[in-house]
């Protein structure tokens, strides 16, 4: 089991159109976001939060199109997207 450790560096996520934000303590690892992302941007990680739920992360090879679905579907208010100007 892996416990999450520290935030990512800001600059590592400048590539996609939408930045994925996760609130780690809230996530319950339900995989809804991963399942319903139309662009398969998200995937479940092997990282767990303190309650033992595994967390979603972004597959670096895909681009978030800011459809907002993950944000709308997440039952935990644990994920949201912010638009970034192309770096």
């Amino acid at each position: 089991m892996k416990l999450w450790r520290k935030p990512l560096d800001q600059d590592r996520v400048m590539i996609p159109h939408g930045e994925v934000h996760i609130i780690i303590e809230r996530c319950k690892g339900c995989e809804l976001c991963v399942t319903y992302c139309p662009c398969d941007v998200l995937e479940m990680s092997r990282i767990f939060n303190a309650k033992g739920y595994s967390l979603p992360q972004v597959d670096g090879s895909k681009d978030c199109v800011i459809c907002g679905l993950c944000e709308m579907i997440c039952p935990e208010f644990a994920i949201y997207i912010e638009e970034v100007s192309h770096g």
């Binding site: 996520v13 319950k28 809804l32 990680s45 579907i73 039952p75 208010f77």
Partner: protein, 277 residues
Amino acid sequence: MNEELSNVLISKEHPMDDYLREDRLPHIWCSGCGLGTILTSFVSALQKSGLDRDKVAVVSGIGCTGRAAGYLYLDGFHTTHGRAIPFATGLKLGNPELKVVVISGDGDLVAIGGNHFIHAARRNMDITVICVNNFNYGMTSGQMGPTTPTGARTSTSPYGNHEPPFSVPYLAAASGATYVARWTSLHIRRLEDSILEALNKKGFSVVEIISPCPTYYGKKNKMGSALQQMKYYHENSVIRHGSDPAESGIDLGGEIVVGCFINKDKPTFLDSQKRSV
């Protein structure tokens, strides 16, 4: 322990937090429960409604769904089991300026609270009711209730439920509701639109939302993971706007008719009261 989440930003706040009592999150709902998503849809609809948030009050009864009032950063009332509607009625009449929304469970609203439901519909009381139907009593560990499909197993129907369920839309319609819709928790966009319509409707509006209770109902009926249950409901639903509420019954394993069944105008309780004196 040396790994970290890839390509995401770690945050402490969510854009919707403004509408939430974020000091109470994470909420108590199980992983994969439909309730969280429904709350998101509600907040989203509320944001779009243009309603003054200081004039919106949410009333819940007791149940998993009944906790909704406690997570929204609005005036919130978590009353007793089954009594959200009469409390909401008083609240609205005590201060007609308010938009009063009831968010509660199927058991709360049509088991113990059934009488209040039909009477408020009859009066065309000026409130919006969001009824989350997970086909069982989640909070008390998954007993059967009046919405449990015939044949379904629950902790109090170990041999399969032998009672026929209500159709919430049909009951609402027969009682006089002016707006009646049904969606599943996965119809997020349409659900949001429907809640928005309901919020803006004058009179008694009802949105029923079919929602998975993976912990109890899903497990007892071998519906797989929360995700699978949610998907199942979504995929087995057919949209039939304007269809006869009498045809909206839900059979175990059968299709789930969704859509907006009724949307009509008639004088609300407050309107006709004003006119009568």
